[in-house]
Symmetry: C2
DNA sequence: CGTCTCGTTGAGAGTTTTCAATGTAAGTGG
DNA sequence: CCACTTACATTGAAAACTCTCAACGAGACG
């Protein structure tokens, strides 16, 4: 269960066996069935979740009841309603499992303790957030700059196998467009060949 | 010149006078005239910039020559092409001054040194990035969820005085819409009163 | 077999952009 | 101080893009 976590941590920082044991002790293991909720909107987000296996999605729901996916979290990714987790406010995101999944949960107090007791983790999270910022920046530029078709093509290029694992309607929601629009984009692409 | 920097740092971490002197030694001061470039697209982004006074904007230019502002950086904000800075790639963003400004530059090698020599700065940047992530997340959700009018109103609510300092066409670019659209939104708002 | 989920298609509606023209305020050099 | 230029905002009309709604189809699953 912790293999994936340590693998990801060790991409960015060095850890002794002792560190690893200490780190593991801060996490709680949770299994999720497909569609099961990890976080319900308006609850407090008590954990940072590391996805060991499976895929989760985090999303918000607007006034008209439409879902907007903010993150697709695969194995090796972290997911939470960050603002709720950090600021101890009510969550505006919900999080659930797209497939049966296993996650490692890190509570707020354990997060703080971990950062202090294992200084390398302070560094790990700084680097993780630094990289996430880069990704988010590009997504934001992309979202404001490109048409639906361009955004879709960029996504496919970045994650060629995404449609084998994520239904089209969720991909659409992630891109901020409708599933019908994707359907038409695919049709046009075929025409052009 | 460094007052603003220390003020911002001390919102998040504690610093001794000795730390402050050490920190200051890593920075280089630069003054920018209105419209002067801090970073040119396709150059390498060699610095993290802290805005001491003034406002800068970072933006990308698409195939059609249109500018898309990714960040408006006021006093107390940091700005850079993060990906270029961290990964040492060519920048896709340009950065210039909207007003006469003063910035403090932190080079890549000084950044690394600073994080190691002053551990509190590791913590500072972790918290800074953590908060930036929260903001970016909300912007991304907003960008994918709301209409031009809703996005504009949200921005005005968040930064009531923004239009006193930032021309409308730049605000439009920041929101990923056109200045004409903002003009029409304002017209409609007056009608409703 | 029936139900549920997911994707496709068409037609019409809505939003935002594009392009072009005009207005207005501010800044510069003579 | 005026004339000229430049930057920025407004308005209209047409075009482009994407959505909405509704119907239909295909596959998975119990």
């Amino acid at each position: 269960m912790f293999d994936k976590l340590f693998q990801k941590l060790e991409e960015k920082i060095q850890l002794s066996e002792k560190d690893k044991k200490r780190i593991a002790s801060f996490f709680e293991i949770k299994k999720l069935r497909k569609k099961e909720l990890l976080l319900q909107e308006a609850d407090y987000c008590k954990n940072l979740a590391f996805v060991a296996t499976g895929v989760l999605k985090s999303y918000s729901v607007d006034d008209k009841g439409q879902k907007h996916i903010s993150l697709l979290a695969w194995e090796g990714w972290w997911v939470s309603d960050f603002k709720s987790f950090i600021c101890e406010e009510k969550a505006i995101l919900s999080i659930d499992a797209i497939e049966d999944s296993e996650v490692l949960l890190l509570s707020r107090s354990n997060y703080e303790k971990l950062l202090i007791e294992v200084p390398a983790m302070e560094r790990y999270f700084r680097i993780l957030y630094q990289n996430s910022l880069i990704t988010k920046d590009r997504r934001l530029i992309s979202s404001n700059t490109y048409t639906a078709e361009e955004k879709y093509l960029q996504l496919i290029k970045m994650y060629p196998f995404i449609s084998q694992r994520i239904p089209q309607n969720l991909i659409a929601s992630y891109l901020g467009i409708t599933t019908e629009t994707i359907s038409r984009i695919k049709k046009n692409l075929h025409k052009d060949n």
